[in-house]
């Protein structure tokens, strides 16, 4: 009980206090400087818009969540396979790595129209964008985990006459778990960003609107209060997915290290 109250005091009170301050300052600034409501709405108006459009926002968030989760899952699987290939041969790593960097550095808004051209308007293209944005951290972290193995452990396996496959399955893969967890956490956050960006380009064809599409729609119609509500919902969705993956990662790491 005491531990809980302490935890609340240390980790819940400071951010909540800051939130209250920021909201108050926001409200005061809008009133004091006579800011037009379609430029910056009042905090209460945003809350009202969120309440009014609650069902739409919820449906959009679940749509975006689905796309992000799908993109994240594909990133995790594909990134891991690529990292396994990298760990097996330096030549493969050297030949593929520049293209992985290309995926990382190319502005997604520049290739988005191309993706829409290939995959059409709708869910598929959104997932592809989420995937492209979120795969890189999985590749780099998993590769680091699979290749940065204690030299003595590698020698131990060599002396025991282990095959390449045994080294991968019994040493490299399990060794990479903490790195993989780190990669997954970063990737999960990015996949939400990717899904929202994807929806701005390709969301129109989806069965129901996602947050990205909603944001674009509302901004086009000067419904700033609804826009703010959609942006805040996006942030909440990102935090939820990041938090869920972090928690799962924590459990996996604890189990892996044997401290639980």
């Amino acid at each position: 009980m005491k531990r809980w109250s302490r935890w609340i005091l240390e980790f819940v009170v400071p951010p909540v206090a800051l939130l209250v301050l920021v909201v108050a300052a926001w409200h005061a600034a809008v009133i004091a400087f006579h800011v037009k409501r379609y430029v910056v709405p009042l905090p209460l108006e945003v809350l009202q818009a969120g309440w009014r459009r609650g069902d739409v926002l919820f449906s959009a968030a679940s749509m975006t969540g689905e796309a992000a989760t799908a993109g994240f899952a594909i990133s995790l699987a594909a990134g891991f396979i690529v990292a396994c290939l990298f760990s097996q041969s330096r030549i493969i790593e050297r030949s593929i790595y520049p293209y992985a960097i290309f995926l990382q550095t190319v502005p997604i808004v520049a290739v988005a129209p191309l993706i829409v051209g290939w995959f059409g308007y709708g869910f598929q293209s959104v997932v592809v964008v989420a995937f492209i944005i979120s795969i890189f951290p999985v590749i780099t972290n998993a590769t680091a985990g699979l290749t940065s193995i204690d030299r003595n452990l590698l020698e131990l396996f060599e002396l025991a006459g282990a095959s390449r496959w045994q080294v991968l399955a019994k040493l490299r893969l399990p060794s990479s778990v903490p790195h993989l967890v780190t990669g997954a956490r970063i990737s999960a956050g990015l996949s939400v960003v990717g899904a929202i960006v994807g929806e701005m380009f390709a969301g129109a064809g989806a069965s129901r609107p996602g947050l990205g599409y909603l944001i674009q729609q509302t901004s086009g119609h000067q419904r700033t209060d609804e826009l703010f509500a959609a942006v805040l919902t996006s942030a909440a969705l990102g935090m939820m997915i990041f938090g869920a993956v972090s928690a799962a990662g924590r459990m996996v790491t604890l189990w892996w290290s044997g401290t639980k």
Binding site: N152, E155, G161, S257
Partner: protein, 259 residues
């Protein structure tokens, strides 16, 4: 244990040298033989190539000069016939496996079947006094216990040759002495040959049948000293005057080699 001179040695080094690329020579002209059943310690100042010599015998690195053979074969080939174990300075355990599964690893890699593997792993853990800790992960064990698990893993394949690279260097003195006594007991029980690297002369004197003293870089053999203590070596041996005199003598040899 006695060794007839006509019996061919288990390990034979003939003018072995090692120069890493672009560096000063690490080893130079090392010639010696180790016979079956011996417990030979390699002592020398740090950086004298003791560990390199061990890696050459294990076939992990090729010497750049001279010839190293194990059972009259290049080490890498001999490794397949001869069961060889290597104990590293760190316990080098897999954190995601419990003690028993860590010990079972070499058998698993050699595709020894399940029931046999489990029995032998449990036996090896029992030998090092960790039968009750079979389900514990390395993270839950002390440094000394982790090193015991590492020893059990070396013993589980019933090896003919065990190479030990300063295995107790990171442990406190009490734990080191206890493990020395246990290692000696294990060596007596079974008939394996040991090549043991250390920079602790007292440890070498307590454990070995022979001590090879290496000079500072590049490592050369400056002395090959048989250890005079026969019979059972009890922990009390360490406080006997003869033991102190012998340790002093080896220490002098080591200092001369450093000069």
């Amino acid at each position: 244990m006695s060794h007839p001179e006509n019996h061919s040695p288990l390990i034979s080094l003939d003018g072995v040298g090692m120069t890493y690329r672009g560096a000063v020579p690490a080893l130079e002209g090392v010639t010696c033989a180790v016979h079956e059943g011996e417990f030979v310690s390699l002592v020398g100042p740090s950086g004298c190539g003791k560990s390199t010599l061990l890696r050459i015998v294990a076939g992990l690195v090729e010497p750049t000069g001279g010839r190293a053979t194990v059972m009259d074969e290049p080490p890498r080939q001999a490794r397949r016939r001869l069961r060889l174990s290597f104990v590293f300075q760190d316990a080098t355990l897999l954190p995601w496996r419990n003690a028993e599964r860590n010990v079972a690893l070499p058998l698993e890699l050699a595709r020894v079947s399940g029931a046999d593997r489990d029995r032998r792993s449990r036996d090896a853990l029992h030998q090092v006094g960790l039968a009750d800790f079979a389900r514990h992960r390395p993270g839950e064990l002390s440094g000394g216990m982790r090193m015991r698990v590492s020893l059990a893993r070396a013993l589980v394949t019933d090896p003919r040759l065990i190479l030990l690279d300063e295995p107790f260097g990171a442990l406190d003195d009490m734990t080191r002495q206890t493990l020395n006594e246990e290692l000696l007991g294990l060596w007596r029980q079974r008939s394996w040959t040991a090549l043991f690297v250390t920079h602790n002369i007292s440890e070498a004197a307590f454990l070995s049948t022979r001590i090879i003293v290496l000079s500072a870089r590049p490592g050369r053999i400056v002395a090959d000293v048989p250890v005079p203590f026969t019979g059972t070596r009890s922990p009390d041996l360490r406080s006997e005057p003869d033991f102190a005199r012998f340790v002093g003598r080896v220490g002098r040899l080591l200092r001369e080699g450093r000069a």
